[in-house]
Point group: C2
Chain length 154, copies 2
DNA sequence: ATGATTTAGTTTCAAATGTAACTAAATCGA
DNA sequence: TCGATTTAGTTACATTTGAAACTAAATCAT
């Protein structure tokens, strides 16, 4: 029997590992920039990013749009509120929820970070042609569908 | 001026975000399985995975192959050693380092987890044809090259 | 209506992580 | 060859994170 006949797992070739390293490298590089400039964490940025799209949102809606859990959202929101980057308005229909939106200051910072993030994305994506980017997007969507934990298992 | 003209960042379409969610979904799904079965964390598994490839390695070599930092490796190694899944042998050439390898028990667990991980990978990759997988691999490599923080910046 | 359950969001506590400081051995340079 | 620097790995401390428990409001079922 060949002692080199292993389970066939080579970490460097294992897709989940490769995705993880790539994702951490990219997210880390962007986060390093806005953290250095504004002291904002990735999670805080995600909250700002969805609010920056325009709509005011409740915490639960932020959870749905950011793939963060509610505790993480609660904490990010609390920090951003303390720093007056987002504001909380009482909801008229449900006293448990508040409607969150960027403050003027929050919008200013958003307006600085968003182009920073997009620039970096462009920089990395410059390695791909337009067609390749479309292909990549399609394949990632397909994988996301296959990997999504909320698909029925039966 | 159009008040909807934002910085043009939509989180759901932002590649770094999409990669991050996909990566966490996939890694999380696999980790949930081996954590439930053996109480092993992602980082511990990565150390086992590179040792499972065959060669005995020093901590520094593990750092190089896993994209983990040395503190994380040190801690994962310490835990795995306590659980007697890896063993430490004094290095002959450098008294500061030890040479690490899986124990018999470690190899047994490795032999159970590796197929589990590969099965899940296969399951997800089933969403892609062989050609698409090759394309994806190529594109991810390309992105990794472009994103790699160790490339010269000047 | 009103008690039982669900939902929104927060708090608490333990575990995981990152950064910096540290120890000990190896290498470098005069 | 011996002091200065670098390297391997660990430890200590502060911060972040995750899970579970919790509070308060809404909805559901009778």
């Amino acid at each position: 029997m060949d002692s080199d006949t292993k389970a066939g797992l080579t970490l460097a070739a294992f897709l989940p590992y490769r995705l993880s390293v790539l994702s951490n490298t990219i997210s880390g590089a962007i986060a390093a920039r806005y953290d250095a400039a504004f002291g904002i964490s990735i999670r805080q940025w995600r909250v700002m990013a969805v609010l920056g799209e325009g709509e005011a949102l409740t915490a639960t809606e932020i959870v749905a749009r950011t793939a963060m859990d509610k505790v993480a959202v609660s904490r990010a929101v609390a920090d951003l509120e303390t720093r007056e980057l987002i504001a909380r308005a009482a909801s008229t229909r449900d006293a448990r929820q508040s409607v969150l939106s960027l403050t003027g200051q929050g919008r200013e910072i958003y307006a600085e970070i968003a182009p920073m993030a997009l620039d970096y994305e462009r920089e990395v994506l410059a390695a791909l042609s337009q067609t390749e980017l479309e292909t990549l997007t399609r394949l990632l969507d397909r994988l996301a569908g296959a990997a999504s934990p909320d698909r029925p298992l039966w």
